[in-house]
Amino acid sequence: MKKLLIWVAVLVLSVSMISAISLAADKTKITFWYFHSGAEGEFMAALADKYNKVNPNVEVTAVSIPQADYMGVKLTTAFAGDVGPDVFFMSPGDFLKYANSGIALDLTPYYNEELKADFLPSALDAVTVNGKIVGIPFEIELLGLYYNKDMFAAANVQPPKTWNELIEVTKTLTKGKVAGLLIEPNKGYYQNFIWYPFLWQGGGDIIDVATKKGIFEGPAVENALKLWGDLIKAGAPAKVTIPGTWDLSLLGQGDVAMQICGTWAIAVLEDPENGYSETNIGLVPLPIPDNGKAATDAGGWKFMVNANSKNADAAAKFVMWAFAGDTSLPLEWCTKTKFAYSPRKSVVEAGKDIYSKGLRKVFTDEIYTTAIGEPRYPSEIVDAVGDALQEVMFTNADPKAAAKKANDRINEFLKSFSGSM
């Protein structure tokens, strides 16, 4: 009997060893979740294929997730259930929570000095927490004011340079079914993103990171809130449905005269399938207040690697290969797939010609230097600011009172926020 037991034990041991060896011979599996659609989605899916081809012992699986539920429901349930993806995208609103929780792999060892020098310092700062680099910036998106030149010529007005001109032109060009201006009316992270430049132009801000105190108060804040209320009164639509204001189609179709939108939208204008080429579209920097200084957002999601992943090292190598290695892939992403600035000097240098083509020249020459990194405030703060903006826009609330309410909420939240900012 004892002998039998020993034999069984030996058998079990050897079987498990064999399986362990064959497992080691298996490919290293990496899952990569993206939310992009259209050409951007195709690029992300192709990324996995390309990497698999040059690394036969690795198998990257790219999984497409509907954008509306990517960050919220999908990633949250996956990480709560301990089955999060190895490589994923991170929105600015959730960046700190992931960075502070230890889910984000420390990527500092993967950045050598040469690579660090290649990235814009501000772009690296945006992914650095407690001195550790926990993400990979791969695009910088800027905002500008697109306008329909023909409509401006017909009404004999010039593109607005100041807030007052913006309000006046909006009033002038709002006629019948044509809206003078399109700003994002729906509350959310995107609305804040579009609004922040107006806050910064007058010198306002939301948090003093050093003291962890809310500074959402004063004339700069109130004026920026009031501006958006005035724009709604001047004729900017209170509800924009489909397509959203992040898509330039409405401007392309001649439904609106002006639209605040980002670099990415140029691809939509240039796509011959859309037939917008006959619409005469111009671009100027965002209008500024009297005595204000020009500002725009430099936004964009970041890559993160799951620190709890079994194959974290392989996953990190995959992302570094994609966006921190050779310039060809980042260049393709930033100039062919979509239009954005690369956070890497070498990539911008390699695509010099493209960055001065058509409307891109306006971004490169007039807007790029005024960019301020999109803040990575947690969603609670985004929400408090968003509520203030909504109240001023849609309930005629006093900007001062709305700002105070938001600032109190921000301070309340900061008291309980223990991670680094």
Binding site: F79, A80, K187, A238, K239, D383, F394
Partner: protein, 304 residues
């Protein structure tokens, strides 16, 4: 009867009773097991989570009842509960009255035309939330939407609808009712068809008019279905979420920030999974009290 005989009868009854109970629970077993695994266990876990601080990323931290203490003074939460109650007060009468009226109307016409209208009224129910939200965003577009074009004929100026903090909640209630009316009128219709014609004939001989017929026969005979529709639509109105998420994201200016949307925001935007669970249990208690009152008032819908 001898005492021995009596005992046998008693024994017989008990055995029969056991069999009866056993049979009842066997009939219930598949669903009860399903509920136990896929609802009660998750609810138990959620209850456990509600005593913790948890963002789904780091380990849970036990904080006792602090989440429940916090929510008592969370003015945004109680505001969202208030919005939900306003929504229920709009939605429940809207859907109840219109589907009952449509059912009575359908019941009064005969033949193919009834079948035809039934199918037409039912069509909205087949459309998924995403698609139906897109169509209604089209219909209610402030500048180019069909509804404003229609109002324009009567000289009414363009409305913002979902972009107006005073109209948005009503629009959501209307759109949700629009999708469900055809379905609930079919449920009512199925019940109406079961009322024996003989009752109406007898009352007509007594000279009752149409309203009296409805009041004294139709309505009482619909007791069971009434209870079902009321309970189910009240619960649904307390849980309104999908349309809000797709069409307004709680806006404009928080006008449609209903309770479940607030819970969702806390769970999946703020990653406060513990706090959102606590909120959900409070909402559950509110709904439960409402429903129990309704059951009590109507006597559970059981016929004497």
């Amino acid at each position: 009867m001898s005492s021995q005989g009596f005992a046998t009868v008693k024994f017989f009854i008990t055995k029969k009773r056991v069999a009866k109970n056993l049979f009842a629970y066997l009939m219930l077993a598949p669903d009860i097991i399903g509920f136990a695994i896929f609802i009660f266990i998750p609810v138990g876990i959620a209850l456990y989570v509600s005593l913790h601080e948890w963002n789904g990323l780091s380990p849970m931290k036990f904080i006792g009842l602090r989440n429940y203490v916090t929510l008592v003074s969370d003015s945004l939460w109680w505001h969202s509960v208030g919005i939900t109650i306003v929504y229920a007060l709009m939605f429940v009468p809207m859907i109840y009255c219109s589907s009952l009226l449509i059912a009575v109307f359908l019941n009064s016409i005969t033949g193919k035309i009834q079948g035809f209208l039934r199918v037409i009224y039912f069509v909205p129910f087949t459309v998924s939330t995403i698609v139906l939200s897109i169509i209604w965003l089209f219909m209610l577009d402030p500048r180019r939407g069909l509804v404003n074009d229609f109002l324009h004929i009567f000289g009414i100026s363009a409305q913002s609808f979902l972009g107006n903090s005073k109209q948005a909640l009503f629009c959501i209630a209307f759109i949700t009712a629009w999708t469900l009316i055809g379905y609930y009128s079919i449920i009512f219709l199925a019940a109406l068809k079961d009322i024996p014609v003989i009752y109406y004939e007898a009352a007509k001989l007594d000279g009752a008019n149409a309203f009296q017929l409805f009041k004294s026969i139709t309505f009482p005979m619909l007791k069971e279905v009434n209870l079902f529709v009321l309970v189910v639509t009240i619960i649904a109105s307390f849980q309104v979420f999908d349309q809000v998420k797709v069409m307004t994201s709680g806006g404009p200016a928080g006008a449609t920030n209903v309770a479940v949307f607030y819970i969702y925001t806390n769970a999946f935007d703020y990653l406060k999974l513990g706090y959102s669970s606590a909120l959900a249990f409070v909402l559950f208690v509110i709904m439960f009290v409402f429903s129990m009152l309704l059951l009590k008032i109507t006597g559970g819908g059981a016929r004497e």
